[in-house]
Every structure is written in C-alpha cells, then in structure tokens.
C-alpha cells in the first residue's frame, strides 16, 4: 500500500512538473504589437498601416513627423523663426548658420523621417494589392501611399541637394533634385490616376477610414501644383492649381492624445522658439496677416541670437489642426506660373484677389485661412514681370508663413526679391547615411 502511494505521489509530482513545462513552445509573438504577417497580409492590417503612415507624416507626439520637419528648418534658416536660448544649440545653429552639424536631430530628421514614411508607403504599395481589399479601398490606399511618399521626398529634396527615391537597406543611390522632382510628380500623377480609376461612390469607405479630415484629391492636386511650379512646369502647375477648390481647407487634425507638432515645437517646450519681429516689421501696414500669425498684442522678447521675437498666435492649442496647404497658395502658384509664362494680366488679377480678400472662405476646426484685406494694387504696379514676382514673393511670405515654403521661395525668387538670405544653403547629409550608405557622396 505504502509503496503504491509513493509511486503514485512520485508520478503525480513528475507530471505536475512536466505540466508546468506546458508545450515548451518557444515561438512567442510580441503581445505589444501585431506581427508583421498580420499587418501586411490582412485588409484591416493594411488599413491600419495606411492610417499609421499618415500619422508618421503628420506627427503624433511632440517632436515627431514630417509636418514638423517641413516647418522647422525652413523657418529657422530664414526669417520666420528664431531661438530664445543657447540651450537649443542645434536649432540655434540653423538660425546663425554657424556650427551646423550632420549629427544634429534638426539636420537629420527631415531625411530619416521622410524615409520612414517612404518605407511604410512602399510596404503598402507592395502588399495592399494582395490582401483582398475592395476596389475603392485599394485605389484609395495606393493613392494615399504614393501621395505621402511624394510629399516626404518633396520636403526632403528641399533640404538636401540629393536623396534616394526609395527606402532600402541595400546600397541606395542618391539622385539630384531634377530626378527626385520627376519621381515626386510621377508618384502624384499616379496617385491621381489611382483615385480616378474608381467611381467616387466606391471611395466612401476609404474616405471614412483612411483619409481622415481631408480630401485626398484636393491634396494631390495641390501638391502637383506646388511641385510642378518648383520643377518649372508652369502650365501643368496652373492646371493642377485650378483643380483645387478655394473654399475647402484640408488639414491634419490632432485630437488627444495627439499633439500639434508646431504647438509642440514653439509653445510646449517653454517657448524656446518664436516668430521674428522682423516678419512683423517688414509687413505692409495694411496687411492683416502679421497679426493673424503672431501675437502682436504681447510685448516682444529678446532672443538668442539677440533679435526681438514674438509668440505664435496660431497653433497655440495643442489640438489645433495644421493645414496641409492653404487655398491661396493655389492662386499664388497660378499667378507666378502665369508671370513666368509671360501672361501678366491673369497673374495681376490673381495677386489682387489674394490681396483684397477680407473674408475667409475656408476653415476647418479652429483654423481659418488667413486673409490680407489689403487694397488692390493699381494695374501700373503689376504690369511687369519683376513687379509681379516681387509682389508674389511678398504675398507668399505673409500668406504662407510656417507652411515650409519660404526656404524654397528664396531659392526661386533670389535673395534680392525675397528680401532674405538663408543662413544655410543646403543641409549636409545625415552622418549615419554618410557612413553607412556606400552610395552616399560624402
């Protein structure tokens, strides 16, 4: 009997120990994030990735995203933004142009962030066709992926003289500006074709679940207009801009827990970065827009370097939306393209339309488009190309403040017309790219 008990007890204990061993399964999945094969092989996974890619572009928390990069460096190297303290050594180096280093986050981020978005876009383009999405959803996601890839490359090529046009861990050749712009425009045209390939009704699900807070068609056309202009294809720029409705404001929204990246940059971090008083001082006295963009009701503060600075009035709320483009940029693109094509008459009309607008016609959330509410300029002040270009440069400066276009505008208009010399001409390629990409020319 006793022997029996002992045997049984022994067996029970052994079994208990082995039961603890479970299936000895060592192929665990990461419970904190869905596995690659779930995200890339299911319709819901692809939709989540399409949403996430836009989040990578728009920014989610303080200090992330392509939107911040589009605003930050072009603002700091020109007369839009400046720093209040030596503590932000990297940001300050962009203001002064002294000591800009290829390891600074502000210098590397436009590049690294762009290729994170490009990587997500390419994952989408590669996998979306294979997971059984509806026709409308597939068209919409393909168009979104191409648009965001194009916008990311477009922002990056305004910072660096040459960049790759795809994301890969292999040797990644870099291309000069003209080639990159061709890629950007070709991606945007394909995106436009994607959207046009299905009836609008089939896009309803896509619009509700992926293109949140904006009209993708508008954004594609606006970006086509922006990059055709930069690329010097003026008629194409005019055509694309004309397709963009001026009464609709397309924005990225930042409901909690998201944070508007410009708020995060300028307001959250103890007001270390502010707008310049120079922006106010050089404005026409009849222009309403300096008071729209900056807090003229507050005293200036002394920055470091020592210039007077002002708090931002826009994006003062952490949940404020950010406009993907402003409608009047379309008028100004057409005006500039017409001017450069020699059609001065239509150009003058468009410039005056921007000058004289007193009532905003587009808004979204708590962001309303800026209006100049200036008197029209007489015809004799806008009857030469030089006069028109100078006026367009002025209008772009005040209409499109912190839209990330000022640096590129100065390149196009020249210092004399734009009234500013950027402190940095081009960014050096990021250090890690230099060292690790054999194709990088540095």
């Amino acid at each position: 009997m006793r022997n029996l008990i002992s045997r049984r007890a022994g067996r029970v204990a052994l079994l208990a120990a082995l039961a603890g061993a479970g299936g000895c399964d060592l192929d665990l999945t990461n419970p904190n994030s869905p596995p690659e094969d779930l995200v890339l092989t299911t319709p819901d996974g692809i939709i989540a990735l399409a949403v996430g890619m836009q989040g990578q572009f728009a920014g989610t928390t303080v200090g992330t995203g392509m939107v911040l990069n589009a605003v930050r460096a072009p603002g700091l190297v020109t007369d839009e933004l400046s720093t209040t303290t030596r503590a932000l050594a990297a940001d300050r180096s962009l203001v002064t142009g002294v000591g800009v280093d290829a390891s600074f986050g502000v210098v590397t981020s436009p590049y690294t962030t762009a290729f994170r978005v490009v990587r997500s876009a390419e994952e989408l383009l590669e996998n979306a066709p294979n997971v059984g999405l509806t026709r409308g959803m597939l068209a919409g996601i393909s168009a979104t992926a191409r648009t965001f890839k194009a916008m990311s490359l477009g922002i990056a090529i305004q910072h660096y003289e040459q960049i790759p046009v795809t994301a890969t861990q292999d040797e990644n050749p870099l291309f000069p500006r003209a080639v990159v712009l061709d890629s950007v425009l070709s991606l945007l045209e394909q995106a436009r074709a994607d959207l046009g390939s299905v009836p609008a009704a089939e896009l309803a699900d896509f619009n509700a679940r992926v293109a949140i807070g904006y009209n993708l068609g508008d954004v594609i056309n606006a970006m086509l207009a922006r990059y055709y202009l930069i690329d010097g294809q003026y008629q194409a720029a005019i055509d694309a801009a004309a397709r963009v409705p001026l009464t609709r404001l397309n924005v990225f929204s930042y409901p909690d827990p998201l944070r508007n990246p410009v708020w995060g940059y300028s307001q959250f971090s103890l007001d270390y970065v502010r707008g310049t008083q120079e922006f106010v001082a050089e404005a026409d006295t009849s222009d309403d827009r300096p008071a729209f963009w900056l807090r003229l009701d507050q005293a200036t503060v002394n920055g470091s370097p020592a210039v007077p600075l002002r708090n931002l009035r826009q994006y003062a709320d952490r949940n404020a939306p950010f406009p993907i483009y402003l409608p009047d940029e379309m008028r100004l693109i057409q005006a500039e393209a017409h001017t450069r094509l020699g059609n001065l008459g239509p150009a003058a009309t468009l410039v005056n339309a921007v000058r004289t607008q007193c009532t905003p016609s587009a808004s979204s959330g708590n962001f309303t488009e800026p209006v100049a509410c200036m008197p029209a300029l007489p015809a004799d002040r806008l009857d030469t190309a030089a006069e028109l270009l100078a006026e367009i440069a002025y209008q772009r400066r005040y209409e499109l403040y912190l839209q990330g276009v000022r640096w590129e505008d100065i390149r196009r208009f020249g210092t004399a017309v734009a009234g500013e010399t950027p402190s940095v001409t081009w960014f050096p390629l990021p250090q890690s790219e230099c060292i690790l990409n054999p194709a990088a020319p540095c």
Binding site: R2, N32, P35, G52, M53
Partner: protein
C-alpha cells in the same frame, strides 16, 4: 556557433521527452552502519553533520546526514573490507574513522566528536552542479556564506547587504541610503552593455525575479534609471536562510546556461529536521543616522550665489559682502531613524514529516523624513517521506512589503536636491504670511513642504513556492522534479499634489503596477556507477523549462483636484506593456572520480530561448573541470611538506554560459501604435528585427589551489580567472534611407581577468578562547575588447562611456587646460562676463581676475578619460573572538580601492554657491564667480572626479549567549543571546562627499559611480535578542 542538425535533433528530442531519464540499479546486499556525531566541546548531539563512507579504491561514496539526535544510519553496498568513514559539517572540521565491514551486515561506530574549525576547505557540500556534491570534487570555486553570518549581520533586513565583504570577487554596492533600496551585485566584473549585469538569483531551486528596473523615477530624471529602487532580493528574510552559494562565472555556472553570464547566487532556506519542535525567536531594535551632513557655505557675508538668487528679509537685493544669516535645513530633512526587525521560526519533525515555519516582521524608518520600509514574510516548508524511495517537499512563502521613498538625485521634488540647489542664505521656515513654506529660488519647491506632501511608495505582494519530489528508486539513483513559482505584484505610487513643487504646478500622480510571474520546471537525475577498482562515474542529467511574463500597466494623471490620492483629475493616461521569455534546455554531466582523489567533470548543456532567432535557437554550453586532491596521494604523508602544508588541492575549470539579448522581441520586425486623426494605425518600428540574434556568450576558464597549513589551522584559496564575453549585443545604426534607425546585433566583446584570494586562520584556541580571522582579496581587470567600429563610443548618462580598450563605464569628459608644469591655466573675462580663452593672458598678469575654464583647441572643447568607477581591487578583513561559546566579538572591514567617483553633488553646490569651497570667493582668496555660476567649470567634469577608495567598518558585534540553568528554569529556553552591533559605523576615505558607495543610476550596467544628491548609506546601531526554545 553554427546551428547543426545534431543540435536541432537533440533539441527536438529534449522538447519531446521533456526530461524522461533512464535508471540503472546495482544489486548488492547493503551494510548498515549506525552511530552518532557529537559536538566536541559540549558533547551535545550534532544534527545535519555529513557522514560519508570513503570507499577509495572501489569508488562509490555513500553519504547521509545526522538527525536531530546526532544519529546516522548509512546503507552501503560495498564489498567486505576496511573503509574510511568521514564526518563533517559546515563550519567544523573533519573527523575520520576506520571501519571494517565483514560478515556482520550491521555495524555500529563509536560516537564521533566534531570540533568547530576556522577551516572550510573540503568539508563542504555544494549544490552548484545540480545535485549536492562535495566541494573537493569540483573544479571551480563556489563561494559559500552560512546562514548564521547572514542572520547576524546587523541592521540588514536584506540578504544582499549581508553578503557585503564576505565573497571575494563580488562587488556589492548599496545604491542609496533609502531603506529598501536595492544593491547592485557584480560578480567578476561587468560583461554586458545593454543587458543587465546583476547575477541570476535562485532560491531553493526557484529562479526568482531580481528586476531593478524602476517603475517610477525617484533618483535620476524620468528618462534614466533611478537609484531608489527596491531590490527584490530584500524580499527574502535573512532569518530563513541556511546558506548562500555563489557561482561567479561561466566555469561554475554552465548548467544555468543562457542566463548565467553574470553568475548565479543560490540561496537555500532552512528546513526542519526530525525531533522536538525547536523555536527560535529573534528581535532587534536599530537606530540609524546619516554619517554626516553635506558640507555647506557658512560664510557670514553674502556671496555671488546669494546675490544672484536671494533677497534680504526686507525684500531688497543683496550686494556682495553684505552680512547674511545662513540656514542649514539638513537637520530638518535627516533624522535619527528607528527600526525593528523580528523573526520567529518553528521547526521539527516526526514520523517522516519535517517542517519549518516562520514569520518575519521588519519596520525600518529611513534617515530622510517620510521614508521607511515595512515587510512581513511568512514561510512554510514541509517535507514528507512518503516511502523509503520518495520524498515530497512543499515550500511556500508570502511576502508583503511597503517602502516609502522620497525623490532624490535629479528629481526637482527631492528634499536633499532642493537643499543643495538653494544658496544657504535662504530661510526655509514656514511663512505665516503665505500660509505655506516659501518656494525656493532655484528649483522652486521647498523641501519641508515636499516632505509633508509628496508621496512615493512601492507595495509588493509576492508568492514564492515550489513542489519538489525526490525519488531514490535505488541507492545509486536520485531523481528530483521541481516546479517553482515566483508570482509578484509591485504597485507603485508617486503623488505630487498641486502646488507642492511650485506655484504653477497642477499636480501629478503616477500609479504603475507590474505583475511578474516566473515559473520553472526542473528534473534532475543523478546516477552513481562504480566500475573497475578505482573508478566511480557520477552521471547527472537535467531538464529545465523556464517561463517569465511581465505585465506592466501604468496609469497616471495630471491636473489634480486637491486631496486626490488615486488616479483621477483633469488629464488621465494609461499604457500597458507585456514581456514574455521562455527557455528550455537539458544537460548531461559526467564526473569521473579516480581513486577518490582525482576528479574529472565534463558537461554539455543545450538550451533554447524564445529571444534567440529561429536559426540560433539551440545553443550549446559546455564545461570541463578537474580537481586533484594532492594531499591524499600516497607520497604526500612521507613528503616532508605535510607537516606545514596539511592540505593541498589543485583545480582547473572551463565553461561557457550565455546572456539573454536585452530585447525579448529583438528578433521581430515590430509594428507600433501610430494614431492619425483620432484613428488607430500601425507603422513599422525603427528597430529592424534581427532573426539571427543569439545570446551573449561567455567563456571562462579558472584555475587555482586550496591550501591548508599547520594542521589545517590556516587555509588559503587562490583562483585566477579569465573571462571573455563575445557576441555582446549592441544597437548598430542603419543607413537612414532604409527607413530604420538601428538593429540589435551580436557585435561586442568584453573581457574580465582577475584573481581572488580567500584566507583564513585560527589564530588562537586556548582554554575557552578562540580567535579566528578571515580575509578576502579580489582584483578584476575589465576591458571592452571590441565595439561596432574602432573609434566607437557609447555615452551613458553624464560621463560614463563604453569604448574599445577601456573598462566599461569609465568617466569621460572635459578637462582643465594645463601648462608645461601641470598647473591649471585660468582665463580672464571680458567686462560683459564672457570668457577670453587666451592661455597667455592670466599667467602674465597676476593682478587680473581669472577663472577656470575647459581645455580647448580653437573652438573645439577637448575631452579625455577622467577616471574609472571600477575598483582596482576589493578586500575585506573579518575576525571573531569568542570565549566559552558564550561571549563573542566580531568585526568586518570592507574596502574598495582605486575606484573614482563623480561627485556631482559638489558640482551643483559649487555652481549655486553653497559648497564649502565657495567660501573662498567670499573670503576673497579667489574672485567671485570662480566656482559660483561658472558655467565653464560646471561642465569641466575633471574638477568633480575624485578618488572613491574606502574602507568601511561594515559590521562590529558583541554578543553574549546565556545557557545557564536560569535560562531554562525561568524562560523554558535553551539559550538566550543578547547582541549589540553596528553597521557602517565608520568609513576611512578621502572622498569629499558623504558616501562614495552610492550611485545615482541605481542598477545601471554602464552608468556607475555617480554621486548626485543621493541619500547616503546610514550608520546603524542595533540591540538584539535571540531566544532558542
């Protein structure tokens, strides 16, 4: 190592079998040898003494232990003949008796007395090999600390601190003087960079959690590791510990496989033995205080710090040299802290059942007001002999603890931090006009307000349990199956009410909860096979499965209403993270004993971990060892040296172990939550998965000798070891245009080489007097052999770096410019206060006001290695004097030599003008601004790196044990011991701060030796009482 088909096949087999083992039996009619073992002095029966039949030529060693009455019964299946019976016990000498086994199968041996001895050479049994083994058979060192030493270490309700100074080669540092604060343990140096460097802790076969990751940041700022982290080792009540064994490196720990790169600490708790119930009650009262206060500026006139930050009581500004009243707030922050620690245990056994039950209670207040540590433990261990062949043991303990902290270090709500950022002319006193304590000028918060309002605590509930079955189907086969569980929940709280730290502060609360479940299942079989005349083969095979799951849920809120003490208020947030890790493995070990004098051990351990890539999953960890007991060789007794050299053993050992990669999911391409426009999305992580990730692999060989001198009245153990850890995981950057940032890769190499010496001697034994002494010495040379690239440098926190050719964590930073004679060059300033970095001006113009600045070349600031937080060597000396076993006096000196400390406490005091040195500015010896508000000197780290060598009087104790008749008559007790003891009573050091032992960055692997307003380790005095029934 390349994956081979064989290894995969072996692995698959292991998974299938999960530990099924063959058994072999030897058939022979056994002899039964009985007898008793006595204490040589008192003639009292001695329990738990080991009795072994040394069968020399024939091989098999039969072994048993004595029961409560000192009796033993040894069954031996041996041929007739004369054998040696060996008697031994931990902390006592060895005795031998010849026994002749003939026709009679029952043999009785005369009672054998065993004397207490200083020597612990080959008597001990160690368990580091999976099954209990005589130390003499093992080719590597296994450091052992007896339970009594752990129990009697004064004012240490935690095991880690009780081990300080007792193990050669173990550097054990208490990171902060906060009660319940964790210790960092380094065995033979650091061999990882991104991974942890603390050893694996095993309690009664259960691999327990010893996580030092802080849930809330109370020391360093929120992005860093904190210092005031409780160590989960503190959960084990020292009173329950029977012994601690330390396996220091790969040569010893290969059977622990892929988790043993940092060594293993095995703790064995007490168990009951047959006999009447025995009751032990210990209670002690302690009093702790800071060794001293931080030295502060006490000059009676205003200096630059006062002028810059303070206002006179009438509201007007100070001018340099104005009379000023100084305030020292430290007496209101520090206090003399009482503590109570009690422990009760009952053990005994009848009829095949033995039990051990205990309860412990600790309530220790901290030397900083509003801090303290409370702990309750309950433990039960029941062993049932089911039959001759089966024993089942159930072991369970429950621990509940509550530790109250205060922020310190970089935390702006730290009371001491505020005190050392505030010029000493500031009056902290309650301001009736404000209705509160005034805000301070630099950090804003007032330490007195903070100590009243800020709450930070950790509440731990923990269950440790195991079921163990031991089968002995035949005399030479033992199979043990163990299932262990460590289930704990740690709930923290960090509450800073509105306005507690500043007029605009709206309050914050953080309430993270971490649940950890670790379980392991082990099956070990041990088979002894004699063959031939002189050989004995011991085969040990084992199987081990471990599973860890850590679930961390963080809830927090900001913008709190007054009185809010749980998560709530205007802004709330929550997050969750889960980490799982599983390992499975099996080992086979063969030990060959030749003539019971030469021992050869070889083992293979095959292990797999879920954190290794699929192609690298199965990893093989081999070990080899040899031990040669020279003094038992036939030639020894006649060699002439034996009169001096009474014992000599030579040993050598080689082994490999692994370290888990720092990221449990580093093999995957992970996706992360990315929200857009209020909708959930996913995007690829910037960390590229590495499907080839494998363990950090350590290989170690060690060699040494154990020597007994003058009839074993003195002993010496010497060990040399050489460790090389390859495949150390580092984050390798990837080209930005890949869309990734980094990837975990097995790149680095780190070496540790050193020697360890332990020596002991019985200096005196005359009449009732005995005087024993023991010393340890260890030196380790740590070196990073390989990094990602030749010039690669990884920075950690302020100034610790990892770079090729240097020890891990050396200090690196800005240094003083010096002239050819080595004198520091000072620089003048412009009238606007900007430095003029022209080294020629000041030396030629003695009348100028000149200030220290950093060395530079053009506009480039120069940096260099400034020091090393790793000690050159550590040493300890302990001694025990006793008289008639009643009166006992002992002390322990523990020293660390040649290590540097970055004194960032002094750095901040200098900058804000409240260090002693800044009095020089007020006295006019140096210009105002020489130290105070000198931003150049503030970044000149050379000025703050100091020698941190110290010798601490760790322990000193005086005890008297009453065994007189009145103890039994009045109390019904066997003995009563009264003790007075002190801990850390004095430190001999040139360090200018209070305590060179603390570290701001707690358990950090790389960031070591930084003292930044970290609570000093207190000195404590204890009065204790122990009663045995």
């Amino acid at each position: 190592m390349r994956p081979t088909r064989l290894r995969r096949w072996l692995g698959a087999t292991l998974l299938l079998l999960c530990g099924a083992l063959p058994s072999r039996a030897a058939a022979q009619e056994p002899y039964t040898i009985t007898g008793t073992v006595l204490d040589a002095d008192t003639r009292a029966p001695l329990a738990n003494a080991t009795v072994q039949l040394r069968t020399g030529a024939e091989g098999t060693a039969q072994r048993t232990v004595t029961d409560e009455a000192g009796r033993y019964t040894l069954r031996a299946r041996v041929a007739a003949g004369t054998y040696t019976l060996q008697f031994s016990q931990l902390g006592r000498g060895t005795a031998t008796r010849q026994v002749t086994l003939g026709a009679a199968r029952e043999v009785t041996v005369e009672p054998v007395p065993l004397a207490a001895a200083a020597l612990q050479l080959e008597e001990l049994v160690v368990t580091g090999q999976g099954v209990p083994t005589e130390r003499r058979e093992v080719g590597n060192t296994v450091a052992t600390v007896r339970g009594e030493e752990v129990n009697q270490a004064p004012a240490t309700p935690s095991v880690d601190r009780a081990l300080q100074g007792r193990i050669a080669g173990a550097v054990i540092s208490q990171n902060s003087g906060n009660p319940g604060a964790g210790s960092t343990i380094r065995l033979r140096g650091t061999s990882s960079i991104l991974g942890g460097a603390d050893p694996l802790i095993v309690v009664d076969g259960i691999i327990i959690e010893n996580n030092t990751d802080p849930l809330i940041s109370l020391g360093s700022n929120n992005t860093r590791q904190g210092s005031a982290v409780s160590s989960r080792l503190t959960d084990i009540a020292p009173g329950d510990i029977e012994r601690v064994e330390v396996l220091k490196g790969a040569a010893a720990a290969a059977l622990y496989g892929s988790r043993a790169n940092n060594g293993v600490i095995q703790i064995f708790t007490r168990r009951g033995s047959q006999g009447e119930p025995r009751v032990n009650f210990t209670t002690e009262y302690s009093s702790s205080e800071t060794p001293r206060y931080f030295a502060i500026n006490e000059a009676p006139r205003a200096g630059l710090g006062d002028v810059s930050f303070l206002r006179k009581p009438d509201g007007t500004a100070y001018v340099l040299g104005d009379p000023i009243t100084r305030f020292n707030v430290q007496p209101q922050i520090f206090r003399t802290a009482p503590g109570v620690n009690s422990h009760l245990s009952i053990s005994g056994g009848t009829g095949g059942t033995s039990y051990y039950l205990s309860g412990g209670w600790t309530d220790q207040e901290g030397i900083i007001r509003s801090t303290g540590h409370e702990k309750r433990t309950i433990r039960g261990k029941v062993t049932q002999q089911v039959s001759n062949a089966v024993e089942v043991a159930v072991n369970a303990s429950y621990i509940q603890s509550r530790t109250q902290y205060q922020p310190e270090g970089e935390q702006t709500a730290g009371a001491l931090t505020i005190a050392l950022f505030t010029p000493t002319g500031f009056n902290y006193a309650f301001d009736p006009a404000l209705g509160r304590y005034p805000y301070t000028p630099v950090i804003t918060a007032n330490p007195l307000q903070v100590l009243r309002e800020v709450q930070a605590e950790a509440n731990v509930d923990r269950l440790l349990g195991s079921v163990q079955t031991t089968l002995t189907p035949t005399d030479n086969l033992t199979v043990t199956a163990l299932f262990g569980l460590d289930d704990s929940r740690e709930a923290n709280l960090f509450l800073q009410p509105p306005y507690s730290t500043g007029p605009a502060f709206t309050g914050s609360i953080s309430n993270p909860v971490r649940s950890i479940r670790k379980s392991n299942a082990d099956v070990t079989a041990n088979l002894e096979t004699p063959f031939g005349d002189a050989f004995r083969l011991t085969t040990t095979a084992g199987y081990r499965y471990t599973s860890d799951r850590i679930n961390t849920i963080r809830a927090g809120a900001e913008n709190l209403p007054p009185g809010q003490e749980v998560v709530g208020g205007a802004t709330q947030f929550a997050s969750q993270g889960i980490t799982e890790l599983r390992t499975v493995g099996g080992f086979l070990q063969e030990r060959l004993a030749i003539a019971d004098r030469l021992f050869l051990t070889g083992a293979l351990n095959l292990e797999a971990s879920s954190a290794f890539g699929p192609d690298e999953r199965w990893q093989l960890f081999p070990r080899l060892g040899t031990s040669w007991v020279v003094d038992e060789m036939p030639f020894w007794d006649n060699s002439g040296v034996s009169s001096v050299l009474s014992a000599l053993r030579l040993r050598a050992s080689y082994g490999q172990t692994g370290g888990q990669p720092p990221a449990a999911y580093g093999i995957f391409n992970n996706f992360t939550d990315v929200i857009f426009g209020g909708r959930p999305g996913q995007a690829g992580s910037t960390v590229l998965g590495n499907p080839n990730l494998k363990p950090e692999r350590q290989r170690e060989w060690e060699g040494g000798f154990d020597v007994g001198l003058f009839g074993d009245r003195a002993m010496l153990e010497f060990t040399y070891y050489d460790q090389l850890t390859k495949d150390v995981v580092l984050l390798r950057p990837l080209q930005s245009s890949s869309g990734f940032d980094v990837q975990y890769q097995n790149i680095g190499e780190i070496s540790n080489r050193g020697i360890e010496i332990t020596a002991g001697a019985e200096l005196l034994r005359r009449g009732g007097f005995s005087w024993n002494t023991r010393m340890t010495y260890a030196r380790n040379r740590n070196r990073v052999e390989k990094m990602r690239t030749a010039g690669d440098t990884i920075f950690s926190e302020y100034l610790n770096i990892v770079a090729e050719g240097l020890p891990v964590g050396v200090f690196y930073g800005n240094y003083y410019p010096r002239d050819a004679q080595g004198n520091i060059i000072l620089f003048p300033k412009t009238p606007q206060g900007a430095f003029i970095f022209d080294p020629t001006i000041c030396p030629n113009d003695p009348a100028r006001a000149c200030y220290p600045g950093r060395a530079r070349e053009g506009s480039t600031i120069l940096r260099k290695v400034l020091g090393d937080p790793n000690p050159d060597f550590t040493a300890s000396l302990s001694s025990t004097l006793s008289y008639n076993d009643n009166l006992q006096f002992s002390f322990l000196l523990d020293g660390r030599f040649g290590n540097e400390v970055a004194n960032f406490t002094r750095r901040i005091q200098d900058y804000f003008g409240l260090s002693e040195a800044t009095e020089e500015e007020i006295a006019g010896t140096v210009p105002a601004g020489y130290y105070t508000l000198n931003a150049e000197r503030h970044l000149l780290y050379e000025a703050f790196v100091e020698d941190g060598s110290f010798i601490k009087l760790r322990e000193v104790a005086l005890g008297y044990t009453f065994t007189q008749p009145w103890v039994r008559g009045r109390l019904g007790a066997e003995s009563l011991t009264l003790r007075v003891a002190g801990r850390n009573l004095h430190a001999w050091t040139d360090y200018s701060g209070i305590d060179p032992e603390v570290n701001l960055f707690g358990g950090s692997t790389v960031a070591r030796g930084v003292d930044f307003v970290t609570t000093p380790i207190p000195r404590s005095l204890t009065v204790g009482l122990t009663v045995n029934f």
